[in-house]
């Protein structure tokens, strides 16, 4: 028996508050089954448990004489045997349900208006709670079961009640009601979102970064212009008028006009990696975009273009400048990232197709199953019947989906990869797809039953049985194939057991081969060309699988 606090509504506003004196101990006694009586053998105080009695004896009676101890000892033995009996459970009467009670907020409001829900009033005395009416109803959440409401004297008839943990009264309710209280069976933990806060912070930062990026891009443009014009003057100076050294100096002056260069003497360590500069070993370089001094390893050269700055297009470059890691990132990284993300690898496209087909299967399959049930229940066996034709079309559709699904999934598994992770990704997609419930569920549609009945049914029914039977055969093949693949992958067993397994798998596959061959010849006889094609495809796959298994067996031995 369980307890919840409930707020009761009393139809007649005259509330007998005089009969609700407080009393803690009484209230507690509500909570226990009174079929077990445990009392202190010395002072007869009621006890809840043996442990409590132990404590009580120590606390209150520890000074008792030795003579009394013997009494206690023998009493203990008796108590032991009594206690070991199972608690008798209060029985729920099963009187018929009367009106289902409704719970409304107004009920609770009215109750509050009555102002009877002060602390003291929720306590009910022993003299009251033992009396019960015949028809006490658990009115919580449409339960309506009649229960023993131990404190139900004043609220037994036509009572409306709702659960109210704050100002309610203790009452006995059935287990269903106990558990159906709001939130009692909630297994969804607290979730707290920080997304908004994060995004607000990010806006501030990215704006700054964008500005910085734009500023650097501008500088890069200017640098490109400087280099472009210098090359021209350089060409004209080839007659010998301007020595190359001057060219370099003049360029440097232009570069420094774009951004002020940091003073050589002021810097002893690279600001990015903190390694010290030396005269020969770790020389100083200036970043042409921010002017800071950095070392070789924290900088790189980028190509300059007059109209575009994609660094890896070499041919229309007007020159190269050294920039630091940070500036390089600020200018190029975002661009590169967007470019990279926009490239869609093949696996993505295949996966999208796979997902599409899967949802198509998920939609069509239950429909088809319904149709089969319907056809069967109405005993429609006539091929020209409209419903039959719809079912046949749906079946064809489904078969088509399965074939496609299988093909794409295989393609994903055989995609070329250049890393172990990619390989794992592809094979995991493949494995998961083979274990999709909709793909696996096939066989379970009405498998054994439909087929077995189909086989034994008299002639007129054969048509229908065949169509489902064939489908199921194909599906069974499919399922088993995926299983055999996954099992051969997931187990690393010793040689002998591996051989054993292979032989078992081979046995199953060969059985299936025969089965499918049978279906093909039947379908050919009936000139179901499309079915024959689908089945043949399955047969080919089966045979391939058989060959592989045979090969593996040979390799093992």
């Amino acid at each position: 028996m369980s307890f919840v606090q409930e707020a009761y509504f009393y139809p007649n506003t005259s509330f007998p508050s005089d009969s609700l004196p407080g009393g803690n101990s009484q209230r507690e006694s509500l909570l226990y089954d009174d079929s077990i009586k445990l009392e202190c053998p010395i002072c007869n105080e009621a006890m809840i448990s043996l442990a409590q009695l132990n404590q009580h004896l120590d606390d209150v009676h520890s000074e008792e004489s030795n003579a009394k101890k013997d009494i206690i000892l023998s009493w203990f033995k008796n108590a032991q045997s009594t206690l070991m009996k199972p608690l008798s459970k209060a029985k729920l009467a099963s009187l018929p349900n009367q009106l289902s009670q409704t719970v409304t907020q107004t009920v609770i409001n009215k109750l509050s208006e009555l102002d009877v829900l002060d602390e003291g009033s929720e306590l009910v005395t022993r003299s009251h709670w033992q009396r019960e009416s015949e028809n006490d109803q658990c009115s919580h959440s449409n339960c309506g079961k009649t229960v023993n409401l131990r404190n139900g004297k004043y609220n037994c008839r036509n009572r409306q009640a709702s659960h109210d943990p704050v100002n309610g009264y203790w009452s006995r309710v059935c287990n269903n009601c106990y558990k159906s209280r709001d939130g009692y069976l909630d297994d969804q933990g607290v979730v707290s979102s920080r997304t908004e806060e994060f995004k607000q912070n990010r806006v501030l930062c990215t704006e700054k970064a964008h500005l910085e990026g734009n500023r650097l891009e501008k500088r890069l443009e200017k640098l490109a212009k400087v280099y472009a014009t210098k090359i021209k003057t350089g060409n004209s100076a080839q007659s010998g008028l301007a020595p190359p050294l001057t060219l370099k100096h003049r360029r440097r002056a232009s570069e420094q006009s774009i951004v002020k260069w940091e003073d050589d003497a002021s810097v002893t360590h690279c600001p990015l990696c903190n390694s010290p500069f030396g005269k020969i070993t770790n020389r100083k370089h200036h970043c042409r975009l921010c002017g800071r001094i950095i070392d070789e390893k924290c900088s790189s050269k980028v190509s300059l273009h007059t109209n575009d700055y994609t660094e890896n297009v070499e041919h229309d470059s007007v020159g190269q400048v050294r920039v630091c890691k940070e500036c390089r990132n600020a200018v190029f990284r975002r661009r590169e990232y967007i470019e990279e993300v926009s490239k869609t690898p093949q696996v993505v496209m295949l996966y999208q197709k796979l997902t599409k087909i899967r949802s198509a299967i998920d939609q069509t399959l239950p429909k088809f199953q319904e149709m089969l049930v319907m056809l069967k229940s109405q005993e429609i066996v006539n091929q020209t019947h409209a419903d039959y034709q719809v079912a046949a079309r749906t079946r064809k559709e489904l078969l088509e989906y399965f074939t496609q699904f299988d093909a794409i999934n295989k393609k994903i598994n055989s995609l070329a990869t250049n890393s172990e992770t990619q390989r794992r990704l592809h094979s995991n997609i493949y494995l998961a797809a083979n274990h999709l419930p909709s793909i696996k569920m096939q066989g379970k549609a009405h498998p054994g039953a439909t087929v077995a009945e189909g086989r034994t049914l008299p002639k007129p029914c054969e048509e229908e049985a065949d169509s489902t039977g064939d489908l199921l055969a194909v599906i069974a093949t499919r399922r088993n194939r995926s299983l055999s693949v996954s099992s051969s992958k997931s187990t690393r067993s010793t040689k002998s057991t591996k051989g054993e397994k292979l032989r078992q798998q081979l046995g199953v596959l060969e059985e299936q081969e025969k089965l499918v061959e049978e279906y093909i010849s039947k379908a050919t006889r009936k000139r179901k060309i499309e079915d024959v094609q689908t089945l043949k495809a399955s047969l080919d796959e089966l045979r391939q699988e058989i060959d592989i298994k045979k090969q593996q067996l040979v390799e093992l031995s």
């Binding site: 507690e28 120590d58 101890k69 607290v190 979102s193 912070n201 990704l425 087929v451």
Partner: protein, 576 residues
């Protein structure tokens, strides 16, 4: 109140947030949280095709994948995440933190998310390991997470904040704003209770749940009050595997088992995936062996029937049963190997004999008789050193205040029979840690005048099996609490007293809980409608890990040499 479901639901919520190909990125602390409740194949069905660690710096760039991050917001992990966001490996990022993220951490992450790859930042409070639906652990073990700081009654600072965060997340994941009670004598329990209470007040919004009939109770206990339970040999499946082999995040290392097959070197014990385990984890070795036998028979009949498939119907049935069959065959070998190894160890270390004496020492006052048996076992060459130490510890704890306490002579005897000096030192450490003066309750029920009566009663209680008579002290505490009779003077409320009979109780055991206690709680939940109890602790102890923790702590405090005390084996214990 189901911690496994609570954690699983968080994870499902994460992986279902977006569709498409996903990678799940974890850190060293969230990996065990996930692996306790999830399998790879369950993740696969939610399009999570790759699982990787954020501290793996050699991950491939796969910009076409969406990345679900489930991370603890520690400074180390935030740093790794900062580096990740600077050079994102994947297309989109959905960040789920297992606990509250600091404002400064949010700012730091926002600052580096220049590519604007982050789509979600959420706190999902799955910051603990859920072992059984009613049993959790914070996995804080010595030596990485020492319990004690400056003194044997003060917290290690780092461990304390981890405990605080872990326990808050338990409450949040179960949506409980509890009344807090604690063991009065434990300084550490009181400190934790106060800090939890403070944090709940601080996080008012998070803890704003609908009112319940009676407030849920958070009961904070100290292992010190019951040092006996973790010392006893265990005979129920889950507890026994942990005691003899060690369960780490649902995995058992069998690599030391003689002639073990390669695929059984490490096995997974998962309630979700393994119905045999789920059905048997609380059964004792006897019942378990019977079940294993019928399990094997079932397997054999199935293998035979599929050997002669001669009709299509047969084959169909076989195919139908094939997945079951595969699972079955994998499972049967696993449990046969496991139970086989348990039996071997029991036989080898004469654990039945040891256990009988352990139970007697734990449950009865019969000093002379037990002493004789104890002396006999100490001098026996078949009994392991650890067993001898555990027996003497039990004796020393029970008869600490007895007039004719023979602990000294037993220590002598241990010396004579060649037990290492350092292990013997543990007896003093244990008395320091949990001697009668350190315990608040009358653990052995031998301090009051009705000692013999009570002991007699205890003896009667579970008389059907001499190896499982002992009931953890927790049982008594909980029974009193459920009846509203647990004394305020011993287990005070932090603020306010409620006389209501509690409905939901969350227990946290400082210093580690045990599987024996977990089993008790599971049985209590099953047999007491209307009451829900969830048990947890800093860790899950077996005797070896418990002794290690006590030894380490008290070796340090007794001002002993700086040399490391001897180990009693890892949680997965070393074979003697």
């Amino acid at each position: 109140m189901d911690v496994v479901k609570a954690v699983q639901n968080y994870i499902y919520k994460m992986v279902n947030e977006v569709s498409g190909m996903k990678v799940l990125l974890l850190d060293n602390e969230t990996t065990p949280i996930i692996s306790n409740v999830m399998t790879q194949s369950a993740l696969l069905t939610h399009e999570t095709y790759l699982v990787d660690r954020i501290d793996n710096r050699k991950r491939d760039k796969m910009r076409h994948l969406r990345c679900i991050c489930f991370l603890r917001p520690t400074s180390e992990t935030i740093q790794l995440l900062v580096e990740e966001l600077r050079e994102p490996c994947y297309g989109d990022y959905y960040l789920y933190f297992s606990n509250t993220v600091k404002k400064s951490q949010i700012e730091r992450l926002a600052e580096v998310d220049e590519h604007e790859v982050v789509r979600e930042v959420q706190e999902y409070f799955a910051d603990y390991c859920a072992i059984n639906p009613d049993f959790y652990s914070l996995n804080l073990t010595y030596p990485q997470n020492p319990l004690y700081g400056e003194s044997p009654t003060s917290w290690d600072g780092r461990t304390f904040s981890r405990v605080l965060e872990g326990l808050l997340s338990v409450l949040l994941s179960l949506k409980k704003k509890p009344s807090i009670r604690y063991e009065k004598m434990s300084v550490m329990a009181k400190k934790l209770a106060q800090e939890i209470n403070y944090q709940i007040q601080q996080e008012g919004q998070l803890f704003d749940f609908r009112k319940t009939d009676t407030p849920p109770i958070l009961l904070i206990l100290d292992r010190r009050n019951d040092p006996v339970t973790p010392l006893l040999s265990q005979w129920t499946y889950q507890a026994m595997v942990h005691e003899l082999l060690g369960i780490q995040n649902g995995r058992v290392d069998l690599s030391d088992v003689p002639d073990i097959r390669a695929e059984l070197r490490e096995i997974v014990l998962s309630r979700d995936q393994d119905s045999f385990y789920k059905k048997n984890l609380y059964l004792n070795l006897g019942d378990l062996s019977a079940n294993i036998r019928s399990y094997v028979q079932e397997y054999q009949t199935r293998t035979q029937s599929n050997m002669n498939i001669d009709s299509i119907a047969d084959m169909k049935r076989f195919v139908e049963e094939y997945p079951e069959f595969r699972k079955l065959s994998g499972n049967v070998t696993k449990h046969v190997a496991l139970v086989g190894e348990l039996s071997r160890l029991v036989e080898k270390e004469k654990l039945l004999e040891v256990s009988e004496l352990e139970q007697s020492l734990a449950c009865y006052e019969q000093q002379q008789n037990d002493l004789k048996n104890l002396q006999r076992l100490i001098t026996s060459s078949h009994i392991s050193e650890n067993s001898k130490i555990r027996l003497v510890l039990l004796y020393a704890l029970r008869y600490e205040k007895a007039q004719n306490n023979a602990t000294k002579s037993l220590v002598e005897l241990l010396h004579h029979s060649g037990v290492s000096e350092q292990k013997i030192m543990l007896i003093d450490s244990m008395m320091e840690y949990a001697g009668a003066d350190k315990r608040q309750d009358d653990l052995f029920a031998n301090e009051g005048f009705l000692a013999s009566a009570k002991s007699a009663l205890r003896g009667l209680r579970g008389a059907e099996n001499v190896y499982t008579m002992h009931a953890p002290h927790l049982a008594q505490t909980l029974e009193l609490m459920i009846k509203g009779k647990l004394k305020d003077t011993s287990y005070p409320f932090l603020d306010g007293v409620t006389r209501d009979r509690p409905q939901d109780i969350i227990i946290f055991m400082i210093g580690g809980a045990t599987y024996e206690e977990a089993k008790y709680v599971a049985e209590l939940n099953a047999s007491t409608p209307g009451i829900r109890v969830v048990l947890g602790g800093t860790t899950v102890h077996n005797s070896a890990s418990f002794l290690n923790e006590v030894q380490e702590a008290f070796h340090r405090f007794s001002g002993g040499s700086s040399s490391r005390p001897p180990r009693f084996g890892q949680q997965s214990r070393t074979r003697v």
